[in-house]
């Protein structure tokens, strides 16, 4: 035991150093943590809106009922703010009861109900809340309505900044550069809505009560986040590979590698240290994305924490070993970076982890893409997550994917440590 920990110590020392270096790299952190979040939310919201547009009548709008049971000025203000939101198509109803019933029949996504004496309560500083009734089939869009209602009901300062921030990001990232202005506006409003919904949930005394209503028979609620978030998590985990490869070259070019080789470290430790570190980075990254996904976008994580952990760890090890291999087989840091970035962009799509059209990842449909996917670690990681999150998997089927991932990792590790040399 003593000998084992002594043997591990140098590996852990390298891992710790690697983590210190990684977490001091702000640019990398933004790519690993912020970018996937923004991508995932923009992408899935715009997809959701597009999907709804395909089935609904007017593109890029959410149909809501507004019931103003209040006769005072605040109720009128809220309903007029909601009315001015271009993404919402509003029909005013007279009573909450009617709204509930028609939401239950699936007529609209949600109903915002402004209670009687809303204005009086506000003037008297007594707690009051808006009520949003959401069709369970359209929970994701419902969440957007909740957020927008929150936005309409509360003082505008922070929300204004949020909207401004979102707009600037959308402009700068060019994600939606080619989309028509109404789509851009919709995505913007929906992103704000989603974030506001999250804020609302985090408040101890939320200004809105959310009620999910309607017939349970109308089918599974569809949340595109469920199909996109795992794919994005896998995709962005692989963005680390370019960095890992580059770090390896930096180490060699800057001579610190000489020190490592001159020390009593074994070659295995020199490769295993970064492997441990980057596995951990991926696990942190995946945890972060899934936590936000679950919190802000109602991502369904399933009910097996062990399963999630197992797949995340296997993904982490695979990413780490792939990065190390990239470092060893390329000639320069730049090459490693380019190869890593290319792999990170291309492999997710040819492995079919993103839905093409429908809601399910493309590889599930079988055919060529599934065959190619079999040979790409991305598919196995995404499938592992899907099996856990949908509850379709059993421990055995999840472990098969984990095993395959570890197989990939072992091959990459073997190549990396075999070909590791200085000259």
């Amino acid at each position: 035991m003593r000998r084992l920990t002594d043997g591990l110590r140098p590996t852990l020392a390298i891992a710790w150093k690697e983590l210190q270096v990684t977490f001091r790299d702000r640019g990398l952190l933004a790519i690993l943590f912020l970018l996937p979040l923004v991508f995932a939310s923009l992408f899935s919201l715009s997809q959701q809106a597009a999907a709804d547009a395909a089935t609904g009548a007017v593109p890029m709008t959410i149909d809501v009922f507004v019931v103003d049971e209040d006769d005072g000025p605040y109720g009128a203000q809220v309903s007029s703010v909601l009315g001015r939101m271009s993404v919402l198509r509003i029909e005013e109803l007279a009573t909450a009861a009617e709204a509930r019933e028609r939401i239950g029949q699936g007529e609209r996504t949600a109903a915002v109900i402004i209670p009687a004496r809303f204005s009086d309560a506000i003037d008297a500083y007594t707690p009051t809340r808006l009520e949003v009734v959401v069709d369970p089939v359209q929970q994701a869009l419902g969440a957007v309505v909740v957020g927008l209602a929150n936005y309409a009901a509360s003082p505008v300062s922070t929300q204004g900044e949020l909207l401004e921030g979102t707009r600037r990001f959308v402009d700068r990232s060019g994600v939606l550069a080619s989309a028509p202005p109404e789509v851009q506006a919709a995505v913007e409003a929906q992103t704000v809505g989603a974030i506001m919904a999250q804020l609302q949930e985090m408040q101890a005394e939320p200004p809105i009560r959310v009620e999910t209503d309607g017939p349970t028979s109308s089918g599974e609620p569809v949340n595109l986040m469920d199909s996109f978030m795992p794919a994005f998590a896998v995709m962005f985990a692989f963005f680390l590979t370019g960095h890992i490869g580059q770090t390896f070259h930096k180490e060699r070019d800057e001579g610190t590698f000489r020190r490592l080789l001159a020390s009593p470290l074994s070659h295995a430790s020199i490769v295993a240290g970064p492997m441990v570190a980057y596995t951990l980075v991926v696990v942190i990254q995946v945890t972060f994305l899934f936590a936000i996904g679950a919190g802000a976008f109602r991502l369904d994580l399933g009910d097996s924490l062990a399963g999630l952990v197992a797949v995340s760890l296997a993904l982490g090890v695979t990413v780490a070993c792939f990065g190390l291999m990239l470092g060893v087989v390329t000639r320069t840091g730049r090459q490693a970076d380019i190869a890593g970035t290319l792999a990170a962009f291309v492999l997710p799509f040819i492995s079919g982890i993103f839905p093409f059209g429908g809601f399910d990842p493309a590889y599930l449909a079988g055919g060529t893409i599934a065959t190619i996917g079999m040979f790409i670690p991305h598919m196995h990681a995404a499938e592992g997550f899907r099996l856990v999150m949908t509850g379709e998997g059993t421990p055995a089927t999840v472990l098969v994917q984990v095993g395959i991932l570890l197989g990939f990792a072992a091959i990459f590790f073997g190549i990396a440590s075999r070909r590791l040399r200085f000259d």
Binding site: D6, R9, P10, A13, I14, W16, K17, Q20, V21, R24, D25, E254, G255, T256, F257, R258, R259, L260, L261, A262, S263, P264, L265, R421, F422, D423
Partner: protein, 347 residues
């Protein structure tokens, strides 16, 4: 005294190119041993093999009684390496760097802390130890670079040009630390440098390496004594066999060799033009073997350089031959080096 290091027939080939060609030498325990040589001589390659960074193509070494090939781990525990280039993690603090380099040698806990504090003190960086290294000056970085090779208390320290590109103040400091390590801790040191005055002052013995081979190995004193009385290197307007014979016959001159032969007619013209504009003096500071468009260059070995200079200049006046450059190398390691290799140490 027992040898801490015995290198035995070390060879390193890069494809066809032989970087180190059959090098053997021994270093005694407690000795400061110099490795001198021009750029590309093979110093770093030799050190890399001895520290286990590179695998020798042939040959081996015994360090502290352990064979480099069969007991690399034992050898690596004895060795400390200060690479020629800064080998540190720039975004980490000096302390974090040193802790890391201690840990990979198995240090931990209080031991590690004490060792790190100790080496920080050796290089006088205790006060700024917690700042990221990228904010340090060049000289301070160099000092951390040295400290990183010391954390695990090596018995044999390899210093590969530790003072290159360092301001005089830091250089003195490094210099003193090295002497202290050797005297107070009896650390054996292998030191490479282009600065002869450092080697003269620090090292007891030195090997002069050129083109992958050791061409001389002796105490500094003996190396210098070999040369006698200094070397004059002189660029001439022209040169013929008669002049050569006459100069060789001068009493203070022991030998005259041609460094750059008489160039073709056009080159002579260019050299003459250069001499007029004063460029030859600049060229003279450069590596003499470089085929600059200058006149012939001769190397004059002397019994005493001043006497020889008077005689040679007198003779040239008599013959009405001008000279384009004169350099005098008083007997020191630098001139020994020039004498042995025909090259200057620094280019």
């Amino acid at each position: 005294m027992p040898a801490i290091l015995e290198a035995d027939g070390l060879v390193k080939k890069y494809g066809e190119h032989v970087a180190v060609d059959d090098i053997s030498f021994a270093v005694e325990e407690g000795e400061v041993f110099g490795l001198l040589g021009p750029n590309g001589a093979g110093k770093t390659t030799t050190i890399s093999m001895l520290t286990g960074v590179l695998e020798p193509t042939a040959g081996t070494a015994r360090i502290g009684g352990h064979d480099l090939r069969t007991e690399p781990t034992e050898v690596k525990r004895i060795n400390g390496l200060v690479p020629q280039d800064l080998a540190l993690y720039p975004t980490l603090s000096a302390r974090a760097n040193l802790q890391f380099f201690g840990r990979i040698y198995g240090l931990k806990g209080r031991d590690l802390r004490e060792r790190v504090d100790d080496v920080l003190e050796v290089v006088a960086l205790t006060e700024r130890a917690n700042e990221p290294i990228e904010k340090y000056s060049g000289g301070m970085k160099r000092r951390v670079n040295i400290a990183a090779g010391l954390v695990h208390q090596p018995r044999l320290l390899f210093l590969d040009e530790p003072t290159v590109g360092v301001d005089p103040q830091s250089r003195n400091h490094i210099f003193e630390s090295v002497m202290k390590l050797n005297r107070e801790r009896r650390m054996s040191i292998i030191y490479t440098s282009h600065y002869m005055e450092e080697v003269e002052l620090l090292c007891t013995r030195a090997a002069i390496v050129d083109e992958g081979r050791i061409i001389a190995l002796d105490t500094i004193r003996n190396l210098i004594a070999r040369l006698g009385g200094g070397v004059i290197q002189m660029g001439l307007e022209r040169l013929d066999d008669e002049m050569l014979a006459a100069m060789r016959a001068l009493p203070a001159v022991t030998a005259v060799t041609i460094v750059t032969p008489q160039p073709a007619a056009t080159a002579v013209a260019a050299a003459a033009a250069a001499a007029v504009t004063g460029e030859a003096a600049v060229a003279g500071e450069d590596r003499p073997t470089d085929a600059k468009p200058a006149g012939p260059v001769v190397k004059i070995e002397t019994r005493r350089s001043q006497d020889a200079l008077v005689q040679v200049v007198g003779y040239l006046n008599e013959r009405d031959v001008g000279f384009t450059s004169i350099e005098i190398f008083e007997p020191n390691l630098e001139s020994v080096f020039l004498h042995l290799t025909g090259k200057k140490l620094r280019e």
